[in-house]
């Protein structure tokens, strides 16, 4: 059952504070984390300062591909403030020069044989202060023998391409992996039929999703402290997945797991950039082990942009088979995926292409098929990041761009075409042609709502008038469905670790509580929303609940926050652990009220005897009883706490309808995003204020990717986007005031019906913006142009000179 509500653009003012009503559970609630942040009292990784702490800096390769001939570190070691200089050869002596990636590949911690991308880690220095550590890098003399580099992914599989991964036994090409989804024969048959039929049409387009970077405001880093007597490692680290990191360090470095404590302090934005284990973390741990002092490593901005987890880099050919009256029958795609020098993708093991398999989008099809070749190139590793929901950004961009290509060729309104092809409400749960079970959805109300908010028909009239005058205005639509909340442990693991999440709830004698999570906020507001989930379930006010997270010694095991999984997985764990506590509370209440357990009913923090509302006790009364003197019902232990490990039954499938309005200056080709309307459905809403914030941030990401951002390389493999002067991120000047709304279609299998919202807008917005730009350029006969749609690229497109980015 879908609830269509009014738009949520209400803005608080000092006279009309929307925050005066404190919710007892779900609802708009100010964030518990904000009072420390607005005072500058957050504690981020670089704020950690320990007695005797040393600083680590990394020497990086100037070449994209080169053999290391020799390294002379004597001058650096002679620097008076330097404590250690370590090379790959030094690490190799302890078998630590290579480490596994999250995709069962290996990655060099420090290069030994050769460097495979520009800025790859070659050596590190540990010194008394951060300036001296960097000074000493310049004293290390490395002799390289440069090799030809593979930069254009389209040339990576050429027979004469240089072999990048000659470290792998028997490797004779740059092929990384092959992947497919769907039924090839059935799909080819539908395409053949559509091609032959008089009322059939097949459209094809080459579409590139360029390499981009999450570039969180806080770069990656850590402080490693190995306590000499106990041998215990404490690692303060910018990690979105502290528990997964701990286990990986235990498995890889042979450190006993109980002697590793990972603390993820406040994190200045993650967006997937802080999921992998980076060589710098390993270097800092090694340094602290060797020197016996705490060691800090913080990247600078360039290091972050050029060496840590990039995103996207898919070259796709999309095809749609349809009827001429606009019924989409099948989708087919061939993908060339650039994975860089090491396959560092952070995705469930059985999903090397992430969840790209949902490229069938929100449409009911006869058949679908995808085939992918992933290759190595001389670029930085990564691939799954930047709020991509495990590659659903690429999938949604492909299908939503292709639907617009079809609309273009049929000369059909893109909204009408989408409405005609949606999966219908009575088809849920819907199994897609690539095997994904969509849990719930009701797409048309969301689409209609976005069109109503936008004033769609009026916009089209305005556009027609402007075209008469030679003005360029475009209206772009995207409708997306995501698959988030990885995931069911029967299918999903990372390095053998099932993707479940734990949660622990303790109610103190006075009725206050602490809830401990395995996931970790990077700004999403877990300290607020998880308190609200507990509050909703057992009636303890959110302000009385402390949320503990980001510390492996003090939280239950779980896989962390990425892929919009916190609410779908850990949020479910929180709701269920509260219900466990509530069940016990009900038994205690039955003793206190001298009634049978079955006769006790719960409502909003109070337990009552059915039919006798005068007889009731609160959760706070019960908490004191549970810890206090006197007898409890037979067989019941004292205390009021519970723990759970939640294994999701399925993923959740949030969706949304986005409409973007752009204007293009015909003289300069500059694109202005005039309006952006976003209607999201993430199921049950825990805190609408936070949901709106999550959507807003993702929409700005979309503007960045569609119009500005790209990690680019020259032909020698030099990264030319290594600073924020070159890698352009939207400021307040490039984005409009967002117009948001929502519908509510709860998930049937999630305990509170919530679906996850963290990445919806990043996934859904780029195609809406690109579709709007292409729509504006219709008078020029343009059918497709690749991101980023910078003025120069739009200008070239207007001149008929569009070239895909490399």
């Amino acid at each position: 059952m879908t609830v269509v509500e009014e738009s949520t653009n209400a803005v608080p003012t000092p006279d009309n504070n929307l925050n005066d009503q404190k919710p007892a559970g779900f609802g708009r609630m100010l964030r518990k984390e904000d009072p420390r942040f607005v005072r500058g009292m957050g504690q981020y990784c670089d704020d950690v300062e320990l007695p005797g702490m040393l600083h680590l800096a990394i020497l990086r390769s100037p070449y994209a591909h080169a053999r290391i001939v020799s390294i002379d570190k004597t001058a650096a070691e002679a620097h008076p403030k330097v404590k250690a200089v370590i090379t790959g050869e030094d690490l190799a002596a302890s078998n630590l020069a290579w480490m596994p990636t999250l995709s069962n590949d290996v990655q060099a911690v420090l290069a030994t044989d050769k460097v495979r991308f520009q800025h790859q880690e070659v050596a590190f220095v540990v010194a008394e202060d951060r300036y001296s550590a960097r000074d000493a890098l310049e004293l290390i003399d490395v002799e390289y023998d440069p090799l030809p580099a593979v930069i254009d992914v389209r040339k990576a599989l050429a027979p004469d391409a240089p072999i990048i991964r000659d470290d792998l036994d028997g490797k004779t090409n740059n092929h990384c992996f092959e992947w497919e989804a769907g039924d090839k024969a059935a799909t080819d048959a539908v395409f053949a039929d559509a091609d032959a039929a008089e009322d059939g049409i097949v459209v094809t387009e080459d579409i590139v999703y360029p390499r981009v970077h999450p570039a969180p405001m806080e770069t990656c880093g850590c402080v490693a402290d190995v306590e000499r007597v106990s041998g215990k490692l404490t690692l303060w680290c910018t990690t979105q997945a502290p528990h997964a990191h701990r286990t990986v360090y235990a498995l890889v470095a042979g450190l006993p797991e109980h002697k590793i404590r990972i603390i993820a302090p406040d994190i200045g934005g993650g967006f997937g950039n802080k999921v992998p284990i980076y060589p710098g973390y390993v270097c800092a741990i090694v340094a602290s082990l060797v020197i016996g002092k705490p060691v800090k490593w913080m990247e600078d901005r360039t290091e972050n942009l050029v060496s840590t987890g990039f995103a996207r880099d898919y070259v796709m050919r999309g095809e749609i088979a349809a009827t001429r009256d606009g019924k989409i029958r099948a989708i087919r795609t061939e993908v060339l995926a650039d994975h860089g020098a090491f396959n560092g993708t952070a995705a469930p093991v059985k999903y090397p292409a992430g969840f790209f398999g949902v490229f069938t989008g929100s449409y009911d099809l006869e058949a679908a098929y995808a085939h992918m070749d992933a290759v190595y190139t001389n670029k930085a590793p990564g691939g799954v990041a930047y709020a991509c929901s495990f590659r659903i950004t690429e999938a949604v961009y492909l299908v939503e761009r292709m639907v617009d290509v079809l609309a273009h060729d049929l000369d059909m309104d893109p909204a009408e075409l989408r409405l005609k092809n949606f999966i219908q409400p009575d088809q849920f749960p819907y199994e897609s042609k690539t095997g994904w079970i969509y849990d719930s959805g009701d797409y048309e109300p969301a689409m209609r709502k976005a069109m109503a908010m936008a004033g769609y028909d009026e916009l089209r009239r305005e556009q027609a008038e402007k075209r008469e005058r030679g003005e360029l205005m475009g209206i772009g639509i995207s409708f997306f469905t995501e698959a988030v909340g990885a995931g069911p442990r029967k299918d999903m693991d990372i390095l053998g670790l099932g993707m479940a999440d734990g949660c622990e709830l303790r109610v103190h004698p006075t009725g206050k509580a602490v809830v401990r999570l395995s996931v970790k906020t990077q700004g999403q507001g877990h300290e607020t929303t998880f308190a609200q989930i507990i509050a909703e379930e057992i009636g303890i006010p959110p302000e009385d609940i402390d949320v503990v997270h980001g510390d492996t010694d003090n939280t239950p095991f779980g896989l962390g926050t990425y892929g919009s999984r916190s609410t779908p997985v850990s949020g479910a764990a929180a709701a269920l652990v509260a219900r466990k506590v509530r069940d016990k509370a009900q038994i205690i209440a039955s003793g206190m009220l001298e009634a049978s357990v079955a006769d006790i009913e719960y409502e909003a923090g109070a337990f009552r005897v059915k039919g006798d509302p005068e007889k009731s006790v609160t959760i706070q009364d019960i908490a004191m009883k549970a810890h206090g003197a006197g007898d409890l019902p037979d067989g019941l232990e004292g205390g009021l706490e519970a723990q759970i490990c939640y294994n999701p039954e399925n993923l959740t499938y949030p969706f949304g309808a986005y409409i973007c309005v752009v204007d293009i200056d015909p003289g300069t080709a500059e694109v202005t995003v005039r309006r952006f309307i976003a209607v999201d459905d993430c199921g049950t809403q825990i805190n609408p204020m936070i949901i709106e914030g999550q959507v807003h941030g993702g929409l700005a990401d979309g503007v960045g990717m569609a119009l500005m951002e790209m990690i680019a390389f020259d032909e020698d493999g030099n990264c030319v986007s290594g600073t924020l002067m070159d890698y352009l991120i939207p400021t307040a000047m490039e984005v409009p005031d967002w117009e948001t709304g929502h519908t509510v279609t709860p998930s049937p299998h999630h305990p509170i019906g919530a679906k996850g919202i963290g990445e919806s807008a990043t996934v859904g917005s780029p195609p809406a913006i690109v579709n709007a730009v292409i729509d504006a350029l219709k008078p020029y006969g343009v059918r497709h142009a690749d991101m980023p749609l910078t003025p120069s690229r739009v200008w070239e497109t207007m001149q008929g000179n569009h070239t895909p980015p490399i």
């Binding site: 100010l30 500058g40 200045g268 700004g523 307040a732 984005v735």
Partner: protein, 162 residues
């Protein structure tokens, strides 16, 4: 070299290397970690502090250049336990998520309101255009600053009426 400056009303002196950046002077020498460091190139603005009332990017200012001047940081915004209306506005309007850009944003916002007590949305966007936020998409930051402007206007009306 000894560098002395007045920070949030208090005079401090430290012996530093001449090349020390103001952001590192604040963070490493004084332990004032509310000011953040984000890009090295004056693009992101997480490091914005005031020097003599003007917002500057402390990652590209030498500490020595601030010697003898008045510096104000996020730690100086709250006075006698009372939050600045800008800080309150950011809380009320969800103007922050990860909180990393927030100190710099708020320092710029405070400077804007001091010279333009009733800025339009466009004026606010221009004022913060030298700063990057990756989380909020800016609309709630704009609302936060408007909230603070309205709050201060209401306070002024109350004061003049009484």
């Amino acid at each position: 070299m000894d560098v002395t400056m007045n920070i949030n009303g208090e005079e401090v002196t430290r012996d530093i290397e001449p090349r020390t950046l103001l952001v590192h002077y604040l963070r490493d020498n004084l332990g004032m970690t509310g000011t953040h460091w984000g890009c090295d190139t004056s693009n992101c603005g997480t490091c914005v502090v005031w020097v003599d009332g003007e917002p500057v990017k402390s990652c590209t200012t030498l500490a020595a250049m601030a010697g003898g001047h008045d510096v104000r940081t996020v730690e100086g915004m709250e006075v006698d336990g009372e939050l600045d209306p800008v800080q309150e506005g950011f809380i009320q309007c969800h103007g922050l998520q990860c909180g990393f850009c927030t100190p710099g944003m708020m320092m710029t916002a405070r400077a804007l309101l001091d010279r333009n007590p009733d800025p339009s949305e466009a004026e606010i966007r221009e004022a913060i255009s030298g700063q990057i936020c990756r989380c909020t998409g800016y609309a709630t930051i704009v609302r936060s600053i408007r909230w603070a402007a309205q709050k201060e206007q209401a306070t002024r009306v109350e004061v003049s009426a009484s």
